[in-house]
């Protein structure tokens, strides 16, 4: 369970991310006066949320003397932190402030589910080994990257469809150029794949050191993980080959992330030894 200070920090984090989400909607202007541009205020709120979130993570880890990836609650909180960090790094590199309006609703929902639904579940009693913690953290970082890859894929397909339909509605005007979405899709894929590779490698090393998991290759989650790794490898190869520039790779990005999502939730929810 959380200490009062941790509860307060996590509550503030959820408040900041939710306010950033609301700021992107018309609801905000109905209730509160406009403070600045929508994206500027929303990003300031996400930034404030990240600061509080980071303080919470540090405090939580120090209190428990463990990396914050022991259970699904912690994994979701860490995944959220990775995603916001990646969002800010991308904003520095590509001025992608617009991305916040797509990330914040999912982030807020993730945190609310984690806070109210998963807190205290599947508590691990024995301390986690460093290699296992590194494996899980890298997996979550890769999932964060694949999440942004997934969002850029959806945005690419939406924009491409609007362009083909010659629609001039707000959706087309608000979305960034196809070239930028394609570039972000590729860059996130290029970053995520090596991270996932290292994560799987560390996981394999860890499991080989544990005689009780001798038949680990038979575990469905591991088989699906390796399947996802191969799938993303093929997607990356196709994209780098360039002949498939366009809608094929974004479609595959969406499929790939759907597999990962099922795997991510499934691993923890199943209560198997892998969780």
């Amino acid at each position: 369970m959380l200490t009062p200070i941790q509860g307060l920090l996590l509550g503030l984090t959820i408040l900041c991310y939710s306010a950033a989400w609301l700021k992107q909607t018309r609801f905000w202007t109905l209730v509160l006066p406009p403070l600045a541009g929508r994206e500027v205020t929303a990003n300031a709120l996400v930034g404030a949320g990240l600061v509080v979130h980071s303080i919470f993570m540090i405090h939580y880890s120090l209190t428990r003397h463990a990396a914050p990836v022991n259970n699904l609650f912690e994994a979701m909180i860490f995944l959220g932190w990775c995603t916001v960090m990646l969002f800010f790094l991308m904003q520095l590199a590509y001025s992608t402030a617009w991305l916040s309006k797509y990330i914040t609703p999912i982030l807020s929902s993730l945190f609310i589910v984690a806070f109210f639904g998963l807190l205290g579940q599947h508590e691990r009693e024995e301390p986690m080994q460093a290699m296992l913690a590194a494996h899980i953290m890298l997996v979550l970082l890769a999932v964060g990257l694949f999440f942004i890859n997934f969002i850029t894929g959806i945005l690419y397909l939406t924009k491409e469809h609007a362009m083909k339909q010659k629609s001039s509605d707000g959706v087309r005007r608000r979305l960034p150029p196809l070239e930028l979405l394609d570039k972000l899709n590729l860059r996130t894929l290029l970053a995520a794949y090596p991270v996932l590779t290292v994560a799987i490698f560390l996981g394999a090393l860890y499991i080989r050191s544990k005689p009780e998991y001798a038949n680990w290759m038979m575990d469905a989650k591991i088989a699906i993980s390796i399947g996802a790794w191969i799938f993303y490898g093929v997607v990356l190869h196709m994209r780098l080959n360039s002949k498939n520039q366009g809608r094929v790779v974004p479609v595959l990005s969406i499929i790939g992330f759907s597999i990962l999502l099922a795997l991510f939730v499934g691993v923890y929810a199943s209560g198997s030894w892998h969780a």
């Binding site: 083909k164 001039s168 979305l175 196809l178 498939n244």
Partner: protein, 442 residues
């Protein structure tokens, strides 16, 4: 009471022939500004002369507004035109309407292209010329600075100038939905006519550097290529150059399609499926419509873009309504502020009067006390400060009420009463804002 007026003509009221005759050259503006002020017609004035409007903004030198007939006679005399010939085309706005008109002009709401921003730069230039000629004072400085602020607010807080209104600019904007960077893109222009070159100019402004021009008459292609630092290629080789092009602009008179889907399919294969934006400005069309169905090819024709232009015009009209509400609010604020200026001199005089009474009484007191014995300098300073605070507090509420009365439009009546009661020896009340010469220059 001195008043602001604006007299002028614009594209809404006069044909271009008349606007040309009434326009002021930059050199004429300097001399005319000086004449208008020296003649005693205006205390402050600004002349705005552009291709679409000629306007004289002036604050009257005497009480009441300057009669429109006087300004019309001045304009007619200056340009050697009969008064009757221009009378029907001129408009004349007084004070509040004149302020609102200036704000509308600066926001581009009175422009031929609704919401355009060029007029703002031209108004700033006109104001700068008047500043150099020292024909502006406190009132017009404040008015024009406020107008520029209102225009900035309108352009940033509404989408009045966001949506593009020409086919060529909408085309470039649409290409911007595909490409985020233009400097590394290659543009292939099919047809070196006026329409194509106009589109080319817009793409160049956006950053396109590599340009290939082709035309049925090779000489025209070469001439255009020289002008735009492009490469000219014969029309017969068009197919060979398609794979290089990220942007294809066709603006040519063709009886049949010049580019068919097979050519583009082959080009896409050669360019490893990199996206292409194709713009067909030709009527009849030069690019086969089935090209639009190919993956990663985005083909837009005149109808597609014209639809966007119409929607953009509607959008600007909707935004103009928001701007009007903003302008009405700002006009009222400006009027309140300038009304408040009218009571500042009398408030200052009241403070001076009180201070002089206080000072005289204190001097009398110090003399008496000095005669009686030595006074502690610290005690003397304390007493001085206490009496200053007392007069300040006594005058605080009346000052606030005077300003409030001025904002409600009763400034001059209240000032008159205050003068009669407290400042009987002071000269009578002067006009509004622009009266003071203490004006800070903008």
């Amino acid at each position: 009471m001195r008043r602001l007026t604006v007299t002028g003509i614009s594209h809404r009221t006069a044909p271009i022939e008349l606007r040309e005759r009434l326009a002021f050259s930059p050199r004429e503006v300097n001399a005319t500004l000086a004449r208008l002020v020296q003649s005693g017609m205006f205390q402050e004035c600004v002349i705005l002369s552009t291709c679409n409007r000629v306007e004289i903004y002036g604050l009257s030198a005497g009480d009441g507004p300057v009669a429109d007939a006087d300004v019309i006679a001045f304009l007619a005399g200056h340009h050697g035109i009969a008064t009757d010939a221009i009378d029907a085309h001129l408009y004349h706005y007084d004070h509040q309407d004149a302020i609102a008109h200036l704000f509308k002009v600066c926001c581009g709401l009175d422009s031929m292209v609704l919401g355009e921003t060029q007029i703002l730069a031209q108004t700033k230039q006109a104001f700068a010329v008047s500043l150099e000629n020292e024909t502006t004072g406190k009132y017009l400085n404040a008015l024009f600075q406020r107008a520029f602020a209102v225009a900035k607010q309108a352009h940033t807080q509404t989408a009045i100038s966001a949506a593009k209104l020409s086919v060529a600019s909408v085309a470039v904007e649409t290409a911007g939905d595909v490409f985020s960077e233009f400097s590394d893109k290659t543009l292939l222009l099919i047809g070196a006519g006026e329409t194509g070159l106009l589109a080319l100019t817009h793409f160049r402004e956006r950053g396109v550097r590599k340009i290939i021009v082709t035309n049925r008459g090779y000489e025209n292609a070469r001439a255009a290529a020289e002008r735009y630092q492009a490469a000219a290629v014969p029309m017969e080789n068009l197919r060979d150059y398609l794979p290089q092009a990220d942007i294809v602009v066709a603006a040519v008179n063709a009886e049949a399609y010049l580019v068919d889907p097979e050519w583009v399919r082959a080009a896409m294969k050669a360019r490893r499926n990199h996206p292409v934006f194709m713009l067909d400005l030709s009527v009849p069309r030069a690019l086969h419509p089935e090209i639009a169905e190919l993956p990663n090819v985005f083909l837009y024709d005149v109808d597609d873009l014209q639809g966007a232009v119409s929607r953009n015009i509607e959008m600007r009209q909707r935004e103009a309504e928001l701007c009007m509400a903003m302008i009405e609010d700002q006009v009222q604020r400006f009027l309140s502020e300038t009304e408040r200026w009218s009571v500042e001199p009398v408030i200052g005089e009241l403070h001076q009067r009180m201070e002089s009474i206080r000072d005289a009484e204190m001097q009398r007191l110090w003399k008496r006390l000095e005669a009686a014995g030595q006074i502690d300098p610290r005690l003397r300073e304390e007493i001085e400060q206490a009496t200053r605070r007392m007069t300040g507090k006594l005058l605080h509420d009346p000052s606030v009420r005077l300003r409030a009365a001025a904002e409600n439009g009763h400034g001059f009546q209240v000032v008159d009463v205050v003068r009669r009661l407290f400042l009987p020896d002071a000269p009578p009340a002067a006009g509004p804002p622009g009266d003071s010469d203490e004006a800070p220059r903008a």
